[in-house]
Symmetry: C2
Subunit: 386 residues, 2 copies
């Protein structure tokens, strides 16, 4: 186990009706910027409820709507401008990971003299941020309980993750009923995203025993609860388990002590940056091909551990058979149990045109990952997934 | 899954050499009360190292030593007096759970007008506490990362747990090498304590799927790493896994969403209060007898889940056979793998004299537990364990 710092001061209010805790925002000042995406929070009644609680608590609410999936630096700049103009005290994100990520960047940008894109490229420049609050409506990125944000500049085909303790939300409200209306497709993509966060840590050369078992706990939860949530969108237990798993897959809890770079995420980030596909679907498509590519004499035992502990495969079978079956189980889970497309072609990427440049960019993000990947390796994985 | 608040703001510095972070105490003021037990931290060199770092950071160090296992209210009162007399700014515990618990009570007592025992009996009276820091030297109670403290008044044969967000340490240093010198007996008792914390949550009527898998992850880690640490006291990985498991078994992480009262702990607290036995040994002795007592038609499926997922028992066997085997595995683990006495008689409790009064006290602590326990039930469990 490697040395690590574990620090997650976010207060989580978990469960039905916890939105009442929004009244506590008054502790952080009087002016709040409410950030959200499209109209879904209005249809679901969350917008009205939040407004009612915030106003009763004496807060003045400013709004930034229209935050898109793969949130854009343009939205961040717009939010920063509002914060600076109106002397806003805190940022409240209501939505999924994109809205929360955008809000984090706004909160940091509001206290930075310069363009917020600087902070995306050089997160060490973040020395303070406005208090960040969130109401989560999608179980996927874990942004509600971590220090990360991913922001895109589509004009440059660039998408970068930034990390800073200042980006940790002060409080996040996680009400599983708010995810009842998440479509089957988005539920599947979210489950795949959580699964990928976990696998990126699980496949590690310097793992901790406990952390590996925690990863397996999350993976088994996703395998059981993902399909239930897709079949029964208002199954509270399934939604609650997915939601709580989403936070723990990425808040540091399973990566503490590992110190391994991710690789499927950087590869997928290029797909989203170039083609604007759904992040979770890109991850689900790439993951089995990445697994096949890195399966070797050096890694086969790890795949056996994965197959036996997560997929209940028979440990007395030949190790290569177990490893191949584990990869097949993974693929089948994404395609058959979650209904995610199996190929890049199915999500609209029909030729290899950008694979070389995407691979060159992705390779930089993969440095230090479980099995080193060259630009050529990444192109091969993209091709296999086509 | 029940509604819950999750809040663990403690910064953990985990790994070899992390004691250097003690310099950060200067952020909390200039006067620190260092609390410890006997001379072991001097023998291990931790005392000198800590003093050197604290003095280099410009801190004035006051000392309270001699904190005993099952920490006494007398030590708390002594620490509170020092804090008030010298205007101390923060409390630094160096030791195991007893030292940290004592320090927490001191930190709260220092800002309370009245006797600290009031706070033990009525933790809602804790409205503030001095910043609490810890350097952990024993993996067991999880006190380094939770809001609990257990304090005894031996003159009244009383031992009570208190909980408050104000008791959460600000930073804890967890260096697994500091546990290399923990004796085989204390390592075994610590492992049993962590196991019991986990089982108290695992056996719950309103569990979350994810939380149950997290419990199993901790249990599997203890089963694997406990005996390694006993056989090879300086095995870093085993010590690190036990240490990190100890925190997560009790910091709220596996109990969030459960809302079940503990029962083996209240029963053991009376053993320690009346006979001053080692807490972890008392838990290990009682646990299998408690399990046998509560095994019924209503609980057998939970015992099967436990046997299959934790002890790798065969799920196709008769459920009663699996359940009985799971209990036998638990007993064998404590007695054979950890070398803990199997009976109360072996730890010096030779007659039933106090069972009735102990059971009456314990029953109050068990209200709301997995299977309701009457005073008679508890007496029966004590008798079976004799």
């Amino acid at each position: 186990m490697k040395n690590f710092t574990h620090f997650i001061p976010t207060r989580i209010q978990f469960g039905e009706g916890q939105i009442s805790h929004l009244s506590e925002l008054a502790q952080s000042g009087s002016k709040v910027l409410m950030v959200y995406g499209g109209g879904s929070i209005k249809k679901m009644g969350i917008y009205d409820k939040a407004m009612e609680i915030l106003k009763e608590a004496g807060l003045t609410v400013y709004e930034l709507s229209g935050v898109q999936p793969n949130p854009r630096i343009e939205s961040v700049r717009e939010g920063v401008k509002l914060c600076k103009e109106h002397g806003i005290d805190m940022v409240l994100a209501i939505g999924g990971g994109s809205t929360i990520d955008c809000s984090k960047a706004i909160a940091a940008g509001a206290l930075y003299d310069g363009d917020a894109w600087d902070l995306v490229l050089t997160p060490s420049k973040i020395t303070a941020a406005l208090p960040i609050y969130s109401v989560l409506t999608l179980a996927a990125t874990g942004s509600e309980m971590d220090k990360f944000a991913v922001i895109s500049d589509m004009s440059k085909n660039e998408k970068w993750g930034m990390a800073s303790d200042h980006l940790l939300p002060k409080m996040s409200i996680m009400d599983p009923t708010y995810t009842f209306s998440v479509s089957k497709r988005q539920t599947a993509a979210g489950t795949a995203d959580i699964m990928s966060h976990t696998l990126e840590n699980y496949f590690s050369p310097n793992e901790g025993f406990l952390q590996a078992r925690f990863c397996e706990a999350i993976l088994k939860t996703l395998i059981t609860c993902g399909p239930i949530a897709i079949a029964e969108p208002d199954n509270y237990e399934a939604r609650a388990n997915l939601m709580w798993a989403s936070s723990h897959a990425i808040n540091g809890f399973v990566s503490d002590g590992y110190r391994v770079a991710w690789c499927v995420h950087p590869m997928e980030h290029e797909l989203s940056a170039f083609y604007d596909i759904t992040h979770g679907e890109g991850l689900a498509i790439l993951t089995p091909h990445w697994m096949k590519h890195v399966l070797s004499n050096d890694t086969v035992e790890k795949f056996v551990e994965y197959g036996v502990n997560v997929w209940n495969l028979n440990p007395s079978e030949d190790k290569w058979v177990v490893a191949e079956k584990a990869i097949e189980c993974t693929r089948n889970f994404f395609v058959k149990s979650l209904g995610i497309p199996a190929t890049l072609r199915e999500v609209g990427i029909t030729d290899e045109e950008n694979f070389q440049i995407m691979a060159e960019k992705a390779a930089k993000g993969c440095v230090g990952c479980y099995v080193p990947l060259s630009v050529e390796d990444i192109v091969e994985i993209y091709r296999a997934a086509l």
